[in-house]
Every structure is written in structure tokens, then in C-alpha cells.
């Protein structure tokens, strides 16, 4: 029987397609080019529109929503400045492979290219920071393009997709037909790993004397935490996660040796440097992980598993590449390992673990717990204790982000939400809002600093309007802390423009937006303040912790150094 076809306007098609795609939340901001769509949104209730206060906030909120749920985040903005304001959020999602579908309004097709009011070449501007983008030139293409956008955004290596819709398209009519599935001849992500490669990998993995498992955000994107945990426990090997990969393996597990990279643990970085077999899973050998490529993993044979062939051997040559979805590949590898006659070399492994424990004994994350001045690490440690490691934690970018990654031990995937690749200040607050909309009953915390926080502070209004009671933990050191740290280390302490003068009164600011504000200046008050903030379940609370201005993030590998060349702290150097 032929499907019933109705004649709909483009704007109606847009709303129906989102509904048929199962979209529940649409983050957006209206404007001239999308007014037909907003009129249709007004008439329906399948999709809830979240009115942000700046388009950057819309993309970050949708991004946070996507990271927490695994579903695509959906954004609607107008043409011109609406589109350009969204670009930072799109680039943020692109760098971390987060599925977003961003709809940008466009001036009517007849005037495209005429420098019309609020016209910008959104396709051209976003091209380098999207997985793909589309300009819809005929209303007949609208539904199928939306289908393609969601399909491309969410499959293979996920990423943001922009759909640019001229205003006249939203007024034109055609029959509506939304396909259930779609195939594209030019886009066919690989799902399963090559069996021959996996057999070789299993053999190499079992032959290791000093193995290391190094995993990234790809494990979380592939929903493969269960498989990774089984794989790691089966082997008994040490595991480290990248900044993007935290939570894919339980941080409190004894096999977990901390994050690696520039501010990773000593044991993780030394383990990387001296390992003889490196098993890289859904990780892309980012420069913040590898340090100097010439010195990277000099003794290791490398197995790399990634869904994106272009990620494999991009920065570091790989001995056994496996292209495929991490979840599928790990499932197959687990089978191969279980059915293999070989077993991990228990004796060698014991000696290797001893070495790892010796490195760990240096206690590289120690800080002064007796300090009267609030140590930022202490705040996060307490937060972790009080939330039992179970909160959704978003962050902004800088020192607080690193401390959150080091001191909040994530046992579950999708709990740690930060801008790893692009490093976007201003991400944390709107992202937390997006997470809270997805999980209204969960505790959602934004760990931030006073510099990052103000970059998207306007979203406090959105938090009030949509009743998303998040907890904002601001580690206020009156500096752009990470900039100050680099200036201290590498610019002889010339603190050029890193001091945050003329800060607002954050308590009053929170209050003026209708929220609760607290200012905490002493270590002894930290725990009480966190408890108070968490207890106010119905309110957004901003806690302004006045922290030690001079605290640095340690340990640290200076840019361009090898993983074995770490600094432990200002007064603790390695021999």
C-alpha cells in the first residue's frame, strides 16, 4: 500500500522530520531567516525548543546533551550572525567527534550571493569544521537531507553536520516522506575489523612483556566501555585513558593507572614510554598525549583500533592497524583471546606491574592538604567524595579542567564532559545545562574557573527558564590559571594579560539571574559549601571558591618533551 502523502510547507516538514527522527530537545535562537520554522515549532509539542541566550550556548548545550546521552544534539539558529556564533560550538564538537545536527537559516535562494541582510556563506564557513554540510536548494530535498544529516552525524566516526536552509524553502510545499533508513554510495563506514589483522593483534597482545592499554574517546562514542572493561580484566594489563576517554574504564579499578599525557600521571606516561606492546583503542595520538613524536613509545609495537582509517598511523607509525567500530573489534578480540592457547606471560606481567607500582609510589598527584588557602585539587577531591563519583561533570578549559580530570575519578562513561580537542572556554556551563535537560534527576556539576565561566555566563538565564538546576563549582584564582602557569614556566613570570582584573561579584551575579550564589574563602568551609550546594536540588548554585593563586597543575610534560621527561612539581624534580 502506498504511503499516505501530505502536502506540507518546508517549515512543517522540518518539524515533522525532527519528530520522526525522535528528537526531543532543540537548542536554538530565532531570527528572520528561521521565522517560518519558529512559527511551526509554536504549533507542535513533540520537540521542546530550548531558547538559549547566545548561539554558542546552543551548540555547547546540544553537545553536552549528545556527550551524556549518545544521541545527536540538535540546534537551530538563524542566518548570518546566528550561524557564525554557532561556529565555535560546531568546531568544538568536530574536534571531539560529537554528533550534532545544526540547522542554520539562510537568506532566500533568490538573493544568495547578493550580500543580503544577515547573509553569510554558512556552508563555506563551516566546511572545515563539520563532518559534512548541506545547502537545501529545493523543498523536495529537505526531508531526505535531514535524514542524511542525522545518519552521517551519528554513524562511523561521529561529528557535526550542518544543514543550511534558505527561508523560501521553509515556505515552499511538497509531499512529506521521511525514509526509515538510508544508504549513501559515497559513505560507508567500516563496522567489523579485519579478522586476519585481529588474529595478528591477539598474538602480539599475548606476547607482550610490558603491555599498555591506551584508550580514548572512541571507546565512549562506540559505547564499548563494557567490552573494554572485559578485555582489560581478561588480560590483567595496566590501562590509561586520554582526557577524552576518562570513564570508559572504572578509574577506581586497580588496573587503572590514571590519565596520560601532558598532565597525566607519572606512572601512565612512564608506562607508555617503556611498554613493549601498546594497544591503542579509539585514541588518536594527539600531541597533548604523545609529546615529542620522536621520543614516543620507543620500545613498543603498536596495535591501533579505530573506526576512522585516517586516524590510524596519522601521527605515529602503527604495526597492526585495525579499522572498525571499537565495540565490534573488542568483542571479536575478546573471543580470539579467550580461544587462544597462549596466555599473558604472568611472570613478565608481575615484574611489569612492580615497575608500574614503583612509579606510582612517587605519588605524582600530591598536594598540600594542610593549606588554609583553598587548594583547587581539594575542592574536586571533596566533590568526588560527596557525589560518590557518580555526578555528570562538565568543565571549561584550563587548570580546573586538568584538576577535574586528575582528581574526579570517573567510574562510568559519559560522565566526564569537556572540550578536549578544541579547548573551548565557555563550554562548561551550557554543556551542563544540556546534560541536565537530558537527565533531570542526576547531579550535574560544572567545574570551571572565573575566566572560563564568564564566557557563556548568559546561559544562567536559560538555566532559570528551563529549570535545569546545575551546580557551578568555580575555582576562582583571579588568573587565567593555565596561561599564568605557562607564563611562570616559560616567560620568566611575565604575567601578560593573564590577571583577571575587575571581576564581578559572582554571588550577586548568581542571585541576579535568580540562582543561589556562595563565596567560600577557607579550606574548612569547602565541604560544607559543597554539601549545601548539592542539597539544593531544585536550584542552580554557583559556588565561588577563592583558591590558591599560585597553584600549578602537576605533573607536567612541557610541550615538545618526551613522555618520560616529566616535571613532578616546582620543588620535586626527578633525577
Amino acid at each position: 500500500m502506498a504511503k499516505k502523502r501530505e502536502l506540507l510547507r518546508g517549515a512543517e516538514i522540518f518539524c515533522r522530520a525532527l519528530k520522526d527522527e525522535g528528537v526531543k530537545h532543540l537548542f536554538g535562537y530565532p531570527g528572520g531567516a528561521v521565522l517560518h520554522i519558529y512559527d511551526e515549532l509554536y504549533k507542535q509539542d513533540a520537540v521542546e525548543h530550548i531558547l538559549v541566550r547566545h548561539e554558542q550556548g546552543a551548540t555547547h548545550a546540544a553537545d553536552g546533551y549528545a556527550r551524556a546521552t549518545g544521541k545527536p544534539g540538535v540546534v537551530l539558529v538563524t542566518s548570518g550572525p546566528g550561524a557564525t556564533n554557532a561556529v565555535t560550538g560546531i568546531a568544538t564538537a568536530y574536534m571531539d567527534s560529537i554528533p550534532l545536527v545544526v540547522f542554520t537559516g539562510q537568506v532566500p535562494t533568490q538573493v544568495i550571493g547578493n550580500d543580503a541582510f544577515q547573509e553569510v556563506d554558512a556552508i563555506g564557513i563551516t566546511r572545515p569544521c563539520v563532518k559534512h554540510n548541506f545547502l537545501v536548494k529545493n523543498v523536495k530535498d529537505l526531508a531526505i537531507t535531514i535524514k542524511k544529516a542525522f545518519y552521517i552525524a551519528t554513524t562511523g566516526r561521529p561529528g557535526p553536520v550542518v544543514v543550511d536552509i534558505p527561508k523560501d524553502i521553509t515556505a515552499d510545499t511538497c509531499e512529506y516522506d521521511y525514509p526509515d533508513t538510508i544508504t549513501l554510495r559515497s559513505y560507508r563506514p567500516v563496522a567489523k575489523g579485519n579478522l586476519w589483522q585481529m588474529k595478528k593483534a591477539a598474538q602480539l597482545i599475548l606476547s607482550a612483556k610490558k603491555p599498555m592499554i591506551y584508550t580514548g574517546g572512541g571507546v565512549i562514542l562506540s559505547a564499548a566501555s563494557g567490552e573494554l572493561t572485559e578485555f582489560t580484566r581478561l588480560l590483567g594489563y595496566p590501562i590509561t585513558n586520554t582526557l577524552m576517554g576518562l570513564g570508559a574504564f572504572p578509574a577506581t579499578d586497580k588496573q587503572f593507572i590514571g590519565m596520560l599525557g601532558m598532565h597525566g600521571t607519572y606512572e601512565a606516561n612512564m608506562g607508555m614510554h617503556y611498554c613493549d606492546v601498546l594497544i591503542a583503542i579509539g585514541a588518536r595520538f594527539d600531541d597533548r598525549v604523545t609529546g615529542d613524536l620522536e621520543k614516543f613509545c620507543p620500545y613498543a609495537k603498536i596495535v591501533q583500533i579505530d573506526v576512522d582509517p585516517a586516524s590510524i598511523a596519522k601521527n605515529v607509525p602503527v604495526d597492526i592497524p585495525i579499522v572498525g567500530d571499537v565495540k565490534n573489534v573488542l568483542t571479536d578480540l575478546i573471543d580470539l583471546l579467550k580461544n587462544s592457547n597462549d596466555k599473558p606471560d604472568a611472570k613478565a606481567l608481575k615484574a611489569w606491574w612492580q615497575q608500574v607500582h614503583d612509579w606510582a609510589a612517587l605519588d605524582c598527584l600530591q598536594f598540600d592538604r594542610s593549606s588554609q588557602v583553598i587548594k583547587p585539587q581539594y575542592v574536586i577531591e571533596k566533590l568526588w567524595e560527596l557525589t560518590q563519583g557518580d555526578a555528570y561533570v562538565t568543565s571549561d578549559v584550563g587548570q580546573h579542567q586538568m584538576w577535574a580530570a586528575q582528581f574526579y575519578k570517573f567510574d562510568k562513561p559519559r560522565r566526564w564532559i569537556n572540550s578536549g580537542g578544541l579547548g573551548t572556554m565557555g563550554f562548561g556551563l551550557p554543556a551542563a545545562m544540556g546534560v541536565k535537560l537530558a537527565f533531570p534527576d542526576e547531579t550535574v556539576v560544572c567545574i570551571t574557573g572565573e575566566a572560563s565561566l564568564v564566557m557563556c555566563i548568559q546561559e544562567l538565564s536559560t538555566c532559570l527558564q528551563y529549570e535545569t538546576p546545575i551546580k557551578i563549582i568555580s575555582l576562582n584564582n583571579r588568573y587565567m590559571g593555565m596561561v599564568r602557569q605557562w607564563q611562570e614556566f616559560f616567560y620568566s613570570g611575565r604575567y601578560s594579560n593573564s590577571y583577571m582584573e575587575a571581576l564581578p561579584d559572582f554571588v550577586k551575579m548568581a542571585e541576579s539571574y535568580g540562582h543561589v550564589g556562595l563565596r567560600i574563602e577557607e579550606t574548612s568551609a569547602v565541604e560544607g559549601a559543597l554539601k549545601e550546594a548539592l542539597a539544593l536540588e531544585e536550584r542552580t548554585v554557583l559556588v565561588d571558591f577563592v583558591t590558591d593563586q599560585t597553584e600549578n597543575v602537576y605533573p607536567m610534560i612541557a610541550a615538545g618533551k618526551g613522555q618520560h621527561e616529566m616535571h613532578l612539581s616546582t620543588d620535586r624534580e626527578l633525577a
Partner: protein, 163 residues
């Protein structure tokens, strides 16, 4: 090393800029690039000449394959192949030089396709090297205008690239 890459891609507006944008964004070399629709009007074929180490060429190939509009990428260096370039060249042809020019054009198997009082316009195809060699035989002052198409390439024998 120099590589000739052949791409089949969706004949969509913007597909070309995705490819050229990729090369500039990732700092890959691009020596020449030609593109035109194929016998299937929904597919364009691009021939792209680039150079780099094996690792870079591998990365270029992978990144091109990753573009959603790209249906297929072939490195023609992996096949026996033929490459050709079309050149149109306008020469100042004085009366006393005309015989010599005509002779050289014949030797290089080109054709004179337009003649004016003072000029010859010549059409010539061949490898880039051959076209360079022809230009080298000419007196620099004689050359008024050179238009080169960039390389087009195809594999020899039974191998055929299809979408």
C-alpha cells in the same frame, strides 16, 4: 614522490571546494587538479597531482576517502597508467620564424589551431614533461600565453575505475 590520484565524487555543488579545502587545511601539496562530469552525470572525476612521502600520500588518500562526497580514490601510481595534459599556447610568429615553429609543432605532434597576422595558437597534448620540453625549445620572448589543463590520468589495460 609525485602521485596521480583519481577521484570519483558526487557531482554536487561544493564538492570541489571540499577537496581543495582539505589540501589547504592540512597543508598538503597540490600540483594540479582537473575535474569534469563523467558518463554518469551524477559523478565527477577529478585527477589530482600531489607529492609527498609515502606516509603523506597515505594520509591524503585516507582524508580524501573520508570526505562524504568522495565515492572512490585511486592512486594511479599503483597501476600501469597513462597521463596526459592539454596545452594551448599562443606564440608570436614572425614571418621568418613560422617554418621553424611549424616544424617543432610537427615534431611534438601538436597542431596549429589558430593563425593571425602575428601569432600561431598551438594545441598540444602529452605528459607534462613533454609539454615542458616543447616550451624549452621556444625563445622566451616568443611566448605570449600558455594555458595548461593539468594532468588527466587513466589506468592501462583492463582495469577500470567504477563507482
Amino acid at each position: 614522490m609525485r602521485h596521480i590520484l583519481s577521484l570519483l565524487m558526487e557531482n554536487e555543488a561544493g564538492a570541489l571546494s571540499r577537496v581543495s579545502g582539505l589540501f589547504s587545511a592540512r597543508a598538503f601539496n597540490i600540483e594540479s587538479l582537473t575535474v569534469a562530469p563523467t558518463e554518469d552525470p551524477t559523478i565527477s572525476r577529478m585527477t589530482l597531482v600531489t607529492s609527498g612521502s609515502d606516509a603523506i600520500i597515505e594520509q591524503i588518500t585516507k582524508q580524501l576517502n573520508k570526505l562524504v562526497d568522495v565515492v572512490k580514490v585511486i592512486d594511479l601510481n599503483e597501476y600501469r597508467h597513462i597521463e596526459r595534459e592539454l596545452m594551448l599556447i599562443k606564440l608570436a610568429a614572425k614571418k621568418e620564424d613560422r617554418d621553424e615553429i611549424k616544424l617543432m609543432v610537427d615534431i611534438f605532434r601538436g597542431r596549429i589551431i589558430d593563425v593571425s597576422e602575428n601569432t600561431y595558437t598551438i594545441e598540444m597534448t602529452g605528459t607534462g614533461e613533454k609539454l615542458d620540453a616543447f616550451i624549452a625549445t621556444l625563445d622566451e620572448d616568443m611566448i605570449l600565453e600558455v594555458v595548461r589543463s593539468g594532468i588527466s590520468g587513466i589506468s592501462r589495460g583492463n582495469t577500470a575505475i567504477q563507482s
